[in-house]
């Protein structure tokens, strides 16, 4: 596997983790808005 694909894989992983974090934060904000 070349370095290019490795860096791309790491970038996608980081973006995926950030996205999951923001998704969960969005759900929490919606819960608070409902209360």
């Amino acid at each position: 596997m070349n370095a290019n694909v490795t860096v791309l894989g790491v970038s996608l992983l980081v973006w995926g983790l950030v996205f999951v974090y923001l998704w969960r934060l969005e759900r929490r904000v919606k819960e608070l808005e409902r209360k």
Binding site: N4, L12, W15, L22, E26, V29
Partner: protein
């Protein structure tokens, strides 16, 4: 939520295209790929500070704290994007010029921009109450934004800079491979959408906090 998933796919597609499809700029080599991240993030920084200035002016006109939430949120996010642009730029500088920091005009000007908006955040934190920090920060934001176009677009063009040449040449045409421009634009659109998502979370949290304090 579909829009959020689309955003995820949009930015993922941009990264894949940047790494596997778009060509490399001969003089930059493999570091070309930093451009798809660093340049759009720097543009979003400018957009964020402009959004903050706009809502600061609206707050001063209407005295609606919703505008203050937007102004504060946009300034904080702009500061975050400014740090990301500076860090990614310095990593690129290390690869291209051999040192993380050279006090290049563009590096220096973004550092000044960081200080200006760090002072905005410090100002809000230092003043108690709700209306007073909002009013002071709004005035500061409107004045601070005067520096933004000057620091981002004018200063780096007045002085000799190690930074890559402007995208547009003297004939006013793009001086860059169209595939590179497409991926950079794609990433800019995606990162702008990400900025507005983060801003909406920040504004909604501000509203919830205010509602709880009033209750």
């Amino acid at each position: 939520m579909i829009l959020r998933v689309l955003l995820f796919l949009w930015l993922a597609a941009g990264m894949i295209a940047g790494f596997l499809w778009a060509p490399l700029v001969p003089v930059l080599g493999a570091t070309t790929r930093v451009f798809y991240f660093h340049f759009p993030v720097a543009l979003v920084t400018t957009l964020a500070f402009g959004w903050s200035m706009l809502h600061s002016a609206l707050y001063l006109l209407r005295r609606d704290l919703g505008h203050d939430d937007h102004a504060a949120g946009a300034a904080e996010l702009g500061l975050l994007f400014c740090v990301v642009a500076t860090v990614s730029g310095s990593m690129w500088a290390k690869a291209m010029w051999g040192a993380y920091w050279n006090w290049d005009p563009r590096e220096t000007s973004i550092f000044f921009l960081f200080l200006i908006y760090a002072a905005y955040v410090a100002l809000r934190a230092a003043v108690d109450g709700e209306e007073r920090p909002a009013r002071l920060a709004a005035v500061y934001s409107c004045i601070a934004f005067v520096a933004v176009p000057f620091l981002i677009f004018v200063v780096p063009r007045i002085y000799f800079s190690l930074h890559p040449d402007p995208l547009f040449n003297t004939r006013g045409k793009p001086d860059i491979d169209p595939r590179i421009m497409l991926v950079a634009t794609w990433m800019f659109v995606g990162l702008t959408a990400l900025f507005f998502w983060l801003l909406s979370l920040r504004v909604r949290l501000g509203r919830i906090e205010r509602a709880r304090q009033d209750a």
